[in-house]
C-alpha cells in the first residue's frame, strides 16, 4: 500500500466505506423483500430482480413525466417515484401470486423454475417497451451535490437519501412483521399453515399480500438503485445471486441477520474492490460466503428448534 499517506488511507477507507453503505442500502432493500418472501413464506422468487427493475423504470418514467409536464415539481419527484415504484411492484406481485405462486407452495423447487420463466418474460417486456439500452434517471440538482465532511472526504447527498429510505423501510418492515397483528398472522401461516387456516386466518389473503409487499419493497429498492446504477432490462439479474446469498447467509428467517449479512457482504466487497479488481473482490466475497455457508448452513442467526 506504499504511496498513500495515512490521511489518504483514512479518507479512502471512509469513502469506500460510504460507497459500501450505499451498496449496503440497496442490498438491504432487495434482501428485505426476499427475506419476507423466502424467509417467511419459503418461496424462491427468481424474478425478484425484475421487480427491482420495474421500480427503477417507474422512477425513470416519473422523472420524465414530471420534467415534461410539471417541471416545478421536479425537485421532489423522487419521493413520488418511490411510492409509484412500490405500488407498481406491489400490484404486479399480487397478480403473479394469484396466477402462479399459489399453485406451487408445496413445490418450492418448481417455484424457482416458474419464477425464472417469469423473469425472462418480464425482461423481454421491458426490452420491448424501454429498449435494450441502459437508461439513466436525471436527479434534481440539489440531490446531486455532496457534503464536504473534511478536506478529503465527500459524502454524496443522494447516498444519504438512499440510506434514509432504507432505514425507514427497515423499521416499517420490522413493525409490520413483529409488531402488527398482520405480522403475527404471517408468522402463524408460516409456522403452521393448516392450523392457521383452522383458527380462521385467511391464509390465501395473507400469502397474497405478503408476496405483494415483498415485491413492493423490491420496487423501492429499484428506485434507490437508479441513483447508483443505470437501468437496463437485464440489470436485475446481476443482483439476484448476491441478494439470495445475503438472505441465506443471514439466516433466512431473521431480519437482523439479513441486515447484518448485507452489511458484511457489501462492506467487504467495496473495501476489497479498492485493493483488487472488482471481479476478484466479488469472487473473493462470494467464495467466502459460500465457504462459510458450507460450514454453517443455517446462516448467521438461527433459533434451535425441534425438527
Amino acid at each position: 500500500m506504499g504511496g498513500y499517506s495515512l490521511t489518504d488511507l483514512v479518507s479512502i477507507m471512509a469513502m469506500q466505506g460510504f460507497a459500501g453503505l450505499i451498496l449496503f442500502s440497496v442490498f438491504v432493500l432487495m434482501a428485505l423483500g426476499l427475506a419476507i418472501i423466502f424467509g417467511q413464506m419459503g418461496v424462491i422468487n427468481m424474478a425478484h430482480g425484475e421487480f427491482l427493475i420495474l421500480g427503477a423504470y417507474m422512477t425513470y418514467i416519473c422523472s420524465h413525466v414530471v420534467q415534461t409536464y410539471a417541471p416545478a415539481l421536479f425537485p421532489v419527484y423522487f419521493f413520488a417515484a418511490v411510492l409509484l415504484a412500490f405500488g407498481a411492484s406491489f400490484l404486479l406481485g399480487i397478480v403473479v401470486e394469484w396466477l402462479l405462486i399459489r399453485h406451487l407452495y408445496k413445490r418450492p423447487l418448481d417455484t424457482l423454475l416458474a419464477t425464472w420463466g417469469l423473469s425472462l418474460i418480464l425482461q423481454q417486456i421491458y426490452r420491448s417497451i424501454f429498449g435494450a439500452r441502459e437508461v439513466g434517471v436525471e436527479l434534481p440538482p440539489w440531490m446531486m451535490g455532496a457534503l464536504q465532511a473534511t478536506d478529503t472526504i465527500q459524502i454524496p447527498i443522494n447516498g444519504l437519501i438512499v440510506m434514509g429510505l432504507t432505514v425507514i423501510i427497515t423499521i416499517g418492515v420490522y413493525l409490520l412483521i413483529y409488531r402488527s397483528r398482520w405480522g403475527k398472522q404471517i408468522r402463524a401461516v408460516t409456522g403452521n399453515r393448516v392450523m392457521a387456516g383452522a383458527v380462521g386466518i385467511d391464509t390465501d389473503r395473507i400469502d397474497r399480500y405478503t408476496f405483494g409487499i415483498g415485491c413492493g419493497i423490491a420496487g423501492v429498492a429499484g428506485a434507490a438503485f437508479t441513483m447508483i446504477g443505470s437501468t437496463s432490462p437485464t440489470a436485475g439479474q446481476l443482483y439476484i445471486v448476491d441478494t439470495f446469498l445475503v438472505v441465506v447467509f443471514g439466516g433466512a428467517a431473521s431480519l437482523l441477520g439479513t441486515i447484518a449479512s448485507a452489511f458484511t457482504i457489501s462492506q467487504a466487497r467495496s473495501t476489497l474492490e479498492f485493493f483488487l479488481s472488482g471481479s476478484m473482490a466479488q469472487v473473493l466475497v462470494l467464495l467466502t460466503v459460500v465457504g462459510i455457508l458450507m460450514l454453517r448452513p443455517q446462516g448467521l442467526f438461527t433459533l434451535k428448534v425441534r425438527r
Binding site: L303, K304, V305, R306, R307
Partner: protein, 247 residues
C-alpha cells in the same frame, strides 16, 4: 456405568429446545425380550424419547446405552446397523414401490452406495421377503403398489420393514393409530410373535391395546417419568389417574 444385562439403559437423559426441557433427566431400563409401552398425555415427550434413542434428535445430557454401547455419539444409520429399528407415527413407506420392493430396500445388505449398485435379488432375499410378508399378513399383496394398501396394512408394512432388519430393539410410535378393532387384535398378535429374541419399545395411547401387549408400562408427564411398573401398578397410581387416565 458398568456392564449390564439390559437391552437398553437410559440414564439422566435430557434435551432442551430453546430453554424448554422436553425430556428432563429421564432414567429407565428395558430388559431383553421385554415389551415396554410408554404412555402419557400429549406433549409429555414420548416421541422425543424415541427420537433421542434413534439419533434423530441430539441429547443435551445423559447417556443412552444399547447393549452396553453408548448411542449418543453415533449417527442414525450406525444406530440402525447396531440393531435399533424405528417406526414413525404416520406410516412411512415408499408409495411408488411394491410391497416386495419396500421390504427388499430394507433388507440389510448392500447398504453402501456401490453395494446398492451391485445388489442382486437372489434366493436369500426372496425367501426372507416372503417370510416377513407372511408374518405381517401381506403375503398375497407382494406385487401391489404400497400406496394402494389400506392404512392398517401400511402400518404392518412398516413394521415388516423393521422386522427384515432383525433389530434387537424395535421402537414403534403409535402402531395402531387409525386401525380398526380387528386390525388392532392382529397387530397385538403380531407383536407377541415377533418379540422372541428382541425388545420392543412402544409409544401408544390406546389403553386396550396397551393392556394386550405391555409387559411393563412407563408413564411420562412433562418430560419426566411419573410412574413405572405393570399396567395394574400404574393404573393404581393416583398421580397417573390425575394427569392422564382420568380423562
Amino acid at each position: 456405568m458398568s456392564e449390564t444385562d439390559y437391552m437398553l439403559a437410559v440414564e439422566g437423559l435430557t434435551v432442551s429446545f430453546d430453554g424448554f426441557r422436553a425430556v428432563d433427566d429421564l432414567t429407565f431400563y428395558v430388559d431383553r425380550n421385554e415389551i415396554r409401552v410408554i404412555i402419557g398425555p400429549n406433549g409429555a415427550g414420548k416421541t422425543t424419547v424415541l427420537d433421542l434413542i434413534c439419533g434423530r434428535t441430539k441429547a443435551s445430557a445423559g447417556s443412552i446405552k444399547f447393549q452396553n454401547e453408548e448411542l449418543r455419539t453415533l449417527k442414525e444409520h450406525q444406530i440402525v446397523r447396531r440393531g435399533v429399528g424405528r417406526k414413525f407415527q404416520t406410516p412411512s413407506i415408499y408409495d411408488d414401490l411394491t410391497v416386495f420392493e419396500n421390504l427388499e430396500i430394507s433388507f440389510p445388505r448392500g447398504r453402501g452406495v456401490f453395494g446398492a449398485l451391485a445388489f442382486r435379488r437372489d434366493a436369500e432375499v426372496r425367501d426372507r421377503v416372503e417370510e416377513v410378508a407372511k408374518t405381517i399378513f401381506l403375503a398375497d399383496a407382494l406385487q401391489r403398489r404400497a400406496e394402494f394398501l389400506s392404512h392398517g396394512q401400511k402400518q404392518w408394512l412398516e413394521i415388516g420393514m423393521l422386522l427384515i432388519q432383525q433389530p434387537s430393539l424395535m421402537m414403534l410410535d403409535e402402531p395402531v393409530a387409525g386401525m380398526s378393532v380387528a386390525e388392532r387384535k392382529k397387530t397385538a398378535e403380531l407383536l407377541h410373535t415377533i418379540t422372541a429374541g428382541r425388545s420392543v419399545l412402544v409409544v401408544e395411547h390406546d389403553m386396550g391395546f396397551v393392556e394386550d401387549i405391555a409387559h411393563r408400562v412407563t408413564v411420562m408427564h412433562q418430560g419426566k417419568i411419573l410412574s413405572e411398573g405393570t399396567l395394574a401398578h400404574v393404573k393404581a397410581d393416583q398421580r397417573v389417574v390425575d394427569v392422564y387416565l382420568g380423562h
